[in-house]
Subunit: 136 residues, 2 copies
């Protein structure tokens, strides 16, 4: 076996596992927060679609910190929507029914879209309430 | 001591502990949900301000059921904002720092007011993000 056959992994400078792909996301988030404040425009970064290592994600999570609000949504697996230490930036994690993380987003919004009750569902709930009252 | 001095508690018909004060709240909620759907108007019933027994509250909770979304807010004690089985109706419970329930509301809204990030807080978070990025 020649030395050429040994794969070489370049370790980037700084903390092991960090690719340098996370810091630019803070700039992107800052622009998104500015747009939210200026016009109410919401946006999201799909973390699962980016070349981020677990160390990159930990770095981001540490920088953004933890906020006061945590939302749990149970529908075909659990989703958590946690306010970060920067209000308006939410860390959204979707799990499948086996508890495996299927996707992660950073959502910039006053409130994450998934937390809002959909008018169609509210109308169904109203019908349910009406039929329940008829049975009392 | 005459018999007149013995206080008489009238036990209402039906389940023990039920005062009959809970069922009218369902009618009130139905009107509130209809207003939410018609005009987006939100409203709340302060359960702590009404003569409701624990049995009344249990009855209400059972009738309304449980929804898919639960929100936890940590600020001077824990608040929970749980979607009921009727989307748009949220059971909101505030605790003090000792974990004692201090108030309970039924809030009718697409999303409870407390879950929304306030623009002033988002602006503070933006400043925090900016200064953090300057330090990188």
């Amino acid at each position: 076996m020649s030395l050429d056959a040994i794969p070489i992994h370049l370790i980037p400078p700084g903390e092991p596992g960090l690719t340098g792909n996370a810091p630019p996301l803070l700039h992107e988030l800052l622009e998104m927060v500015n747009r939210l404040l200026a016009s109410g425009e919401t946006a999201a970064i799909d973390l699962s679609a980016l070349p981020l290592t677990p160390a990159d994600l930990d770095w981001l999570r540490e920088r953004l910190g933890e906020g006061e609000i945590a939302v749990t949504l149970l529908a075909n697996g659990e989703s958590t929507l946690a306010e970060t230490g920067c209000p308006g930036i939410w860390w959204v994690t979707h799990h499948n029914e086996q508890g495996v993380v299927t996707s992660q987003f950073l959502e910039v919004a006053f409130v994450p879209e998934l937390v809002k009750a959909h008018p169609d569902d509210v109308a169904l709930g109203r019908d349910h309430l009406e039929s329940m009252m008829a049975d009392l």
